[in-house]
Point group: none
Amino acid sequence: MIKIAITDDHPLVLKGITSMLEGTPNIKVVGAYENAMQTLEKIENDSPDILLLDINLPDINGIDLSKQLLKKFPEIKLIALTNFEDVSYVKRMLKNGVHGYLLKNTDRLELIKAMKTVLSGELFLPDNIHARLLNQAPNKTADSGLKPNLTRREQEVLVAISEELTTQEISEKLFISPKTVETHRMNIMSKLGAKNSVGMIKIAMEKQLL
Amino acid sequence: MIKIAITDDHPLVLKGITSMLEGTPNIKVVGAYENAMQTLEKIENDSPDILLLDINLPDINGIDLSKQLLKKFPEIKLIALTNFEDVSYVKRMLKNGVHGYLLKNTDRLELIKAMKTVLSGELFLPDNIHARLLNQAPNKTADSGLKPNLTRREQEVLVAISEELTTQEISEKLFISPKTVETHRMNIMSKLGAKNSVGMIKIAMEKQLL
DNA sequence: ATCTAAATAAGGGTATTCCCTGATTTTTTA
DNA sequence: TAAAAAATCAGGGAATACCCTTATTTAGAT
């Protein structure tokens, strides 16, 4: 029997995961905590094999909590729960010894797979993020559901925008019309799901396109 | 019997809400949709009284979807599901005629209360967000030691800009004049040495201000 | 209590981005 | 070689950002 505990300040997530795991043989949810303090208080008594740990907690951040937990309970496997926006956190948590991470829009199968993986001593890294995070080298084989593939020209325009150039300046730099630059910019924004140039640069940096 | 449907691309949320409402008398979850398209396709057939609608959907945004839904099905009550980051969206959705909103870290009681409220024809606005909106909860930037000398307000404006909000939207979020927002933005750019908002966000991310 | 930094606000612009539409040419890929 | 993707260009207008200046009110520090 694998014992699971969850720390998340969203009751919805707590309920959701519990519900997902209900009826799964050999897995039992033994604890559900809403913040770091509660986790530290109750986890010893519940003695879970795995703790699913939300990164955004109200009291202290997931990084500090994971450090403390790993120090006190080195036998517990930690899986970070995260939205994909939290990439930088995840990186740091992995460095701190967290055993895996899951996107919050995970499904039941992945959840179970993650648990088996970390229990076997391996790291669990969902491959869609994994590619983005650790695979700095552009691996074109991966189905880039999350990493939008910009064309060469779009990439150039993106870089130019990130250099604070105006449309006019970019057009002069690349020897194309300002209208073309605008088209490229719109297409980049569309591909990245950004509402404006600020979002474009933010997302591009998070996805390591810059 | 109150019929509920849910639109959210996170299976966790779907499961969580369904699980929360299970066993509640007079409430039944009749539909669960993962995106806007599915919602539009299936909602007529399911004919829920209330739709819980996530604001961040993969295909189109919650604002557009709520507009469409309210036009086609004016009798349906819409409750926006949101993280607190989405304050500006919520405002716009309320303007569009949405009947209430819930934080995703809601609990069962609030959920049920929200439903009863909107069914009675009133708006449901959870008071914790209300307080947040009114008080302008200071963002927790405890470790401001390393950072350039941005003031608290500048920090808030910076974050808002990074969330792709316009000057107008930021002014509504922070309850200050658009001109003040512009002043803050100018001062931030000046402090960071950026030529425009793009540079501002880029530098801010590099300096880990975001 | 006084001084100072911060936050607020506005006028009056100019520059730039954003958005939609529609289109032609070039390059890559199946 | 045909089809698809990429790159090119444009008009026209709305929305937003950018810039400089000045000024009052508020809050924090000595």
